[in-house]
């Protein structure tokens, strides 16, 4: 008996019949909990009566670390939160500190940031698509997705030398100028990528089994989503057209035209559709931005030692998974007094119980996948 997986309700004999309930622990070591999430399911047969997400297996105290590092030193740490979207994390942090300093990155830096962040969004969504499909049993899309993600990571590698935890941006702008051929490579990727999305779509969108496994599964109504503070594609799939890129533009998003994809019913299929459409939109943003990267400096003049004035700031961006917010309190020293991160995965995960109740064990896997959590970000 793998005792870590089985707990019986004390005093009650447990059966699979529904005479009473069994408690099944999925994780923290389970192939489809996306890392070390542990979900405690109270089952009636295979039907979920109640669920509880138990987190913290990947806690590293990122927020505490910030208090003992200078502002620049802490920047690489944020890459390790949502490690499949490190560029977005970096963007949020850098902009938050810039806001604290009252500085702004030059326009060229902001455009390059936008391009890289949108590429990162595509990469993050590709990881989500691949693993989500894998969870539901489609073995092949993950390889297609990683094939394209590889192209994006190559661009990152050429730009800043790292693939996963990139530390691509610096407070005040960029450290590196774009490399020769950057525009062409991004453009080629974006042009090719259109057909690639269609390829994934062919595999899944109208596949009867896929539709059967995702439609009507894990429904989250708009009211619930807002009440739970859910953001990002999960919120938009419930029909709420809320996107920080539009609502509170940052970087260079106000320069480009793009749409906020939404879907009406808030089920797993809708979230799939929304994310697929977001990849298309990101591709369009990249194409617009790459056409015209303004010339100019890439770094604002902010000095070598950062000493923001005392005060506090909250800055949030639309990370691939939702609203990624940084709340930074400065006491006027070179180190932040307090950094608090609002990670989208952590908040979105709170909707899990609402989605999972009444569904089957197999759906739980689909629901975990559709929230698109990264445990590095949930646990920090």
């Amino acid at each position: 008996m793998t005792d870590t997986h089985i707990e019986r309700v004390p005093g009650v004999s447990s059966t699979v019949l529904g005479a009473d309930e069994i408690i099944l622990n999925m994780g923290p070591q389970h192939p489809s909990t996306h890392g070390v999430l542990r979900v405690k399911l109270k089952l009636d047969g295979e039907r979920v009566v109640e669920s509880e997400c138990i987190i913290g297996y990947l806690h590293r105290g990122v927020e505490k670390i910030a208090e003992h590092r200078s502002y620049q030193q802490f920047a690489p740490y944020v890459d390790r939160m949502d490690y499949v979207a490190a560029v977005s994390n970096g963007l949020g942090y850098c902009e938050a500190v810039e806001k604290l300093l009252g500085a702004e990155a030059p326009i060229r830096a902001r455009v390059v940031r936008t391009i890289l962040t949108e590429l990162q969004r595509i990469a993050s969504h590709l990881v989500w698509l691949g693993t989500h499909a894998l969870d539901i049993g489609a073995l092949t899309p993950v390889f297609y997705c990683f094939r394209e993600r590889e192209e994006i990571l190559k661009i990152f590698e050429k730009y800043c030398g790292a693939r996963l935890t990139t530390h691509a941006f610096r407070i005040g702008g960029l450290q590196y100028e774009t490399y020769d051929g950057f525009e062409e490579e991004v453009k080629r990727f974006c042009v090719d990528f259109e057909h690639k999305i269609d390829e994934y779509s062919t595999l899944l969108t109208e596949n009867r089994i896929w539709v059967g496994r995702t439609k009507g599964v894990g429904i989250l109504s708009a009211e619930d989503a807002i009440a739970l503070g859910v953001s990002g594609p999960v919120l938009r799939a419930s029909g709420v057209a809320w996107d920080i890129r539009k609502a509170m533009p940052y970087a260079a998003y106000d320069l480009y035209k793009f749409e906020i994809p939404t879907a009406p019913s808030g089920d797993t299929y809708d979230r799939y559709i929304v994310r697929m459409e977001e990849m298309r939109q990101s591709r369009l943003i990249c194409l617009q931005a790459i056409e015209n990267i303004p010339a100019g400096p890439i770094m604002a003049r902010i000095g070598k030692v950062l000493k923001p004035p005392p005060g506090e700031v909250y800055h949030s961006i639309e990370a691939p998974k939702g609203e990624l917010g940084y709340y930074i309190v400065s006491d006027g020293s070179t180190q932040p007094y307090r950094v608090r991160v609002r990670p989208p995965s952590f908040i979105n995960l709170q909707a899990f119980d609402r989605m999972a109740r009444g569904s089957l064990v197999a759906d739980v896997v689909a629901i975990i996948g559709t929230i698109d959590i990264v445990l590095g970000e949930v646990d920090r």
Partner: protein
């Protein structure tokens, strides 16, 4: 099989008969219900072997597919559904052992009496008659001579199916 030497036939028979009885005893005495089910499966398979020795090939297949592959799977399934760890630790037998012993004696005595009184009744018409490849004949009998019972049996199965579903269904659902 009909042409097999008689010694081989006896060997087959005693092997399967012994197996059937051994498994049956173990089944009744077993503490764990799953073990009981496994021994019953063994007993049924041994019986299937005896059918084969009796050149009833079709019945052998029916026994294996229906009994072992169907009914017993259902049993094992239900055992797993309701398997209580406590059940195997409780007292397994009730207080009717004396009744069982009595019945055994009566049944054994009855048969012994019959063979004692006229042992020839079973042996008189013992001339083995060739029954080669009887699947066709079984089919003919089943679909022509016994057409009506066959249909009745199918209706009975239908009724049983509906009944089982109703019975096992959750109340109020």
């Amino acid at each position: 099989m009909g042409t097999a030497p008689i010694a081989l036939q006896y060997g087959f028979f005693y092997f399967f008969a012994g197996l059937a009885i051994l498994c049956a005893i173990l089944m009744v005495c077993g503490r764990n219900v799953v073990h009981s089910a496994i021994f019953l499966i063994g007993s049924l398979l041994a019986t299937a072997g005896i059918y084969l020795q009796l050149t009833a090939e079709f019945l052998f297949i029916v026994q294996v597919i229906l009994y072992v592959g169907g009914i017993m799977v259902l049993f094992v399934f239900v055992i797993m559904l309701v398997n209580l760890d406590v059940a195997s630790r409780q007292r397994q037998f009730n207080k009717q052992v004396w009744l069982a012993v009595l019945l055994t004696i009566v049944l054994g005595g009855e048969l012994g009496l019959m063979t004692h009184v006229d042992g020839s009744i079973f042996n008189s018409v013992n001339a083995p008659q060739a029954l080669p490849a009887n699947t066709n004949e079984v089919a003919t009998a089943l679909f022509q001579t016994y057409m009506l019972p066959f249909e009745i049996a199918s209706i009975m199965l239908l009724v049983a199916m509906v009944g089982a579903v109703l019975m096992a269904k959750r109340r109020g659902a």
